[in-house]
Structures are given as C-alpha cells and as structure tokens.
C-alpha cells in the first residue's frame, strides 16, 4: 500500500501523512486555479438564457455557437491583425536594439558607457504611467494618434531587453571573440557570427516575455486608439465588459465569455508549448532586481 502510494505520488524519501496531504492539497489548488478558465469556456457555449441559473452548471444544457457569432460581428479579425503587426514589430525591434546596445555595454569601450548604463538603471524605477501624458500630447501634436506608429514606437526602447543581453554577454567568456579578433574579424562580424548565435536562449526568453507583455498591453493602446479599425485585440474585446456595455443587459456575459475565450485560449496554448521560455524569462527578470 505504502509502496503503491509512493509510486502514485512520485515521492522520494520518507512517506509521511504530511506529504500525502500536501500532494492532495497541491493538486486540488492547481485544479481550482484553472477553474475560472473552464467556467469561461463553458459559459461561452451556453445559450444566453441559460447563463444565469439557480444552480451551477459546469456543462452547458444546450451547446450553441451563437455567442461566437455575436463576437464576430465586431471587427475582431482586424483587431487580431493589428495586435499581430504591433506586437511582432515591437518584439523584433526591441530584440535587435536590445542585443546591439547590450553587447556594446558589455564588451566595447567608449566614453559615455557608464552614463548610458546609469540612465538605464534609473529608468527602471520610473513607472511607464508617468510618461503617458507627455507621450500622448506629443502624438496628438504630431497628428499621429490612432496609427501603427503611435502603437509601435514608444514601447520599442525596452530597457529590460538591453539589460538581459548585457548580463548574458558579460557572462560569456571573452576567449572565443578574442580568437576571432586575432584572425582579423571585424567587430560587427564577431558580434553577428559569434556572440549573437550564442545568445539564442536569451533571445528566445526575451522574445517570449516581450511578446506577451506587448500582446497584453492595455493602457497605452487604450489611450492612443480612437477608431474601431486601429484597436488592438485586448482593447477591442474590453468593449464586452458588462461595466462599459450595460449592466442591466445581463445576457452579455455569454458573448463576453466567447470574446474572452477567443482572446485568452490562444495565449494559453502558446504558453503550454513554450512554458520553459516563459519561466526562464521570469527568472532573468528576478535576477535583474
């Protein structure tokens, strides 16, 4: 019995009542933690009239796609496209700018290097919200609100990306690069052919983190987009919130949950496949602090 339990729990070492309890409670909590997503998906397939029920119904009485039809009346394909364009551009730009600046800060000797680095460190303490009003005014004055430029440009100078690459290149032994320099390779060649390919894991971790952060960005896209055509997916979908719609319109929960399923499930699937890089990204943020 004990041996079998050990096998089921995957436990090494002594088997105590405490550990069995911990195993059960832990799994139960993990299950509870994802129930909101189950509830979201379940509601999204219910008939609006069967959403508000006296008892909890985890499985829809009648399965329907009506809610998804309601959601698709909004220009969500356009919003999805906007989100893709904006997020991909920001991620690629942040990676390129971050890798180059991080490499120079780690490896090259030039006046101003320490000033640059201090500026980066200080800016980590500045909440982005502080820059929102001036950025908004600037884009307004340039008549450039409600455009891809306004969505993409401000977030590309991502300090975190520089920091991550700088840390990585500092940890990289110099010998390889020095040998290449002896053979007469230029600095750019060394950077592109030797240093950058070695930073593959850092690049992926940074990309995953930048992509999710910007995919889910809320405040700036909310302020800078006015027309339906320029909204990103999270901003457009926020219109399904019962607060901003109409609180008395109680059946709005069903289409709302369909919208949230469309918005949330793809992120969850990507996370499932790339979870290792998500965790690595977080851990590098941790080291940053």
């Amino acid at each position: 019995m004990v041996a079998r339990l050990k096998l089921v729990m995957g436990a090494q070492g002594r088997l105590t009542v405490g550990r069995v309890l911990l195993w059960i409670i832990g799994l139960w909590l993990a299950y509870m933690w994802i129930l909101p997503f189950v509830w979201m998906v379940s509601t999204s397939f219910k008939l609006p009239g069967e959403v508000m029920t006296q008892t909890i119904e985890w499985i829809p009485r009648t399965w329907t796609l009506d809610n998804y039809r309601v959601v698709f009346q909004k220009p969500i394909v356009r919003w999805l496209w906007n989100s893709m364009v904006v997020t991909t551009s920001i991620t690629l730009a942040s990676i390129m700018l971050g890798a180059a600046a991080g490499y120079a800060l780690a490896r090259m000797n030039f006046p101003g290097r320490n000033v640059f680095f201090m500026m980066l460190l200080l800016s980590l303490m500045i909440p982005t919200e502080m820059t929102i009003v001036p950025r908004f005014i600037a884009f307004l004055r340039l008549r450039a609100t409600d455009s891809y430029a306004a969505l993409i440009l401000p977030p590309i100078a991502e300090v975190f990306s520089v920091y991550l690459f700088r840390q990585f290149f500092l940890s990289l032994p110099r010998e390889l690069e020095e040998a290449a320099a002896m053979d007469g390779a230029s600095r750019f060649r060394i950077f592109r052919v030797i240093a950058l390919p070695l930073a593959r894991a850092t690049t992926i971790a940074a990309a995953v983190l930048l992509f999710t952060t910007n995919w889910n960005a809320f405040l700036w896209p909310l302020l800078i987009t006015f027309s339906e055509e320029m909204k990103t997916l999270p901003i457009g979908m926020a219109a399904f919130a019962p607060v901003t719609m109409n609180r008395t319109q109680i059946e709005s929960y069903a289409p709302g949950m369909a919208a949230m399923t469309i918005l949330g499930v793809p992120s969850l699937i990507v996370f499932l496949f790339l979870q290792r890089y998500f965790m690595e990204g977080v851990i590098s943020t941790g080291i940053k602090g």
Binding site: W23, G26, Y103, S123, M130, P134, I283
Partner: protein, 307 residues
Amino acid sequence: MTTRQLPADTSLRTRLGRMTWKGERIEWSAYFYVLPFFVPFVIFTILAIIFGAYVSFTEWRIIGDPLWVGFANYVRAFNDDFVPKVWGNTFQLAAIVVPGTTILALLFALYVNQRLRGFTASRLAFYAPRVVSVTVVGLVWVWMLDTRFGVINQYLHKVGVPYIPWLTNPDWVLWAVGMTTIWWDLGFHMVILLAALQDIPSELKDSASIDGASALQQFWYVVVPLLRPAISLVITLEIISAFRIFSQIFVMTQGGPAGASFSIIFYIYERGFMNTELGYSSALSLMLFFTILVVTLIQLRIIRERA
C-alpha cells in the same frame, strides 16, 4: 622644428583610432550599437519625463496652448479631497495584494519544489493566469463575482454564506479586485521564489535534519534566511505593481461603486483623459513617481542593511 611633430599623413581617422578612454582604445563603432536604442529611449522616456514635469506646471486642456500656472496643480492636489481617498484605496489594495501574493506564492513554491507527482502540471496551472490579457482576467472574474449568479457566491451560499455584493458594495470591491490581482500575479512571483528555492543546496537541509531539526525548524532556520533576498525582491516588485494597478479597475469597476475602487493611476487617467486636465494629471503622476522612488529606495536600504 620637425623633430617632435606628428608625421604629416596622420589623418583624423588614425588619430581617433589612437584615442583612449580609461586606459583602453576607444571603439567608436560602439555608438552604432548603442544609439539605435538610446535615441528612442531618450525621446520616449527621458524627454517625456522632462516634458511631463513641464506640463505639470501648466493648465492644458489638449486643445489650445499650455498656460503656465506655477505650483497651482500641486496646491490643488494637496487640497483635493479625492487624493487622500485615492491613495487610501491604493494602500488598501496593496495591503491585500502584497501579503496575499507573497504568502501564497511562497506556499505554492514550496509545494511545487517537493516535486510530488503532477508538480509540473501544477506549476503550469499556477502560472497560466499571467499569460492571458488583463481583459480576460477582469471580465472572467466580474462574471464569477456576480452577486446572485456568480459561481463564487453560489458555492459560498451552499455553505451558508449570504450573497456578497462583491462589485457593487464599496466595502467589498477592493477585496474583489485584490483577489483577482492575486490570482493573476501569483504565478510570476512563485517562479522567482521557486528559482531561489532550487538554489538552496540540499546538503544544508540534510545536515540540519541530521542534527535533529524538524521540518518546520529546517524551514524556519535554513530555508527562510536563504530565501530572504528573493522574498524582498518579490515584495518590492509587488509594492511597485500595487501602486500601478489600473487595468483590472478599468475592466472590472471603472472606479466604482461611488469611487470606492479609484486607484491612483485610475485617477490620473480619469483626470487627464476623461476630463482633459493634462496639467493636473501630470502633477499627480509626478507625485506618484516620487512616492515609488522613495519606497524603492527605502526597500533597497532595508535589503542592504540586512545583507
């Protein structure tokens, strides 16, 4: 005359190439690597902050030109009855979210670190809310927290708890937003703590247990002291993000009911963009910045002194 002069063919190029900085040759090409990042960085962060500071001394209603008003916006902020309320709400939220997330994240990390069967799936489950948009998080919780038909109240009702007006009562709304935030944020902090836990050499715990320390003693005297830097980091990050709570409130409550869930950033947003008082909004954000700066510096000082 000619003896000590440089050869005539010394061009600017070779002279630049010979220049040194801190005893080493300068690599001028470094600026090509650094400037593509620093130009947008200076424009969108450094200049924006300076410009924001200027705007905070003006009255500016988006249309028209700014009007210099000196410290009027700051005087107004100190006399605005809503400002202490908004700060009070933000501190209350922090008082729910910071301890709640820290304690739960630590417990979850300790459980995952035991590597009992299913721990990978559990880790995934705990982190999952972090990867979806805040729109999803907020809206799903609004539905779950519905007073009469939400799952949470329905289950609570089954065990005899009366229906709680989570989002419609000023006394409950911050708890509702706080719970949602904990669910959303916990996984991130759990992963940081988990990484720190895995760095603790198992020999330390083994030797403590040979010396007869119980599991609780091992945890308190071996694990906690070694985790202290990671816990401090997690608390600092949480405090900063608690000061910056906005999107949950935007999606879930719009600051209501009766202003009971206005956070400081939501107030900055409401003044600046709903009422087009950009000057006042800038003054409020500058004050928030200094508060965050002070809190961060105090935190760093505490961490340094302990270390």
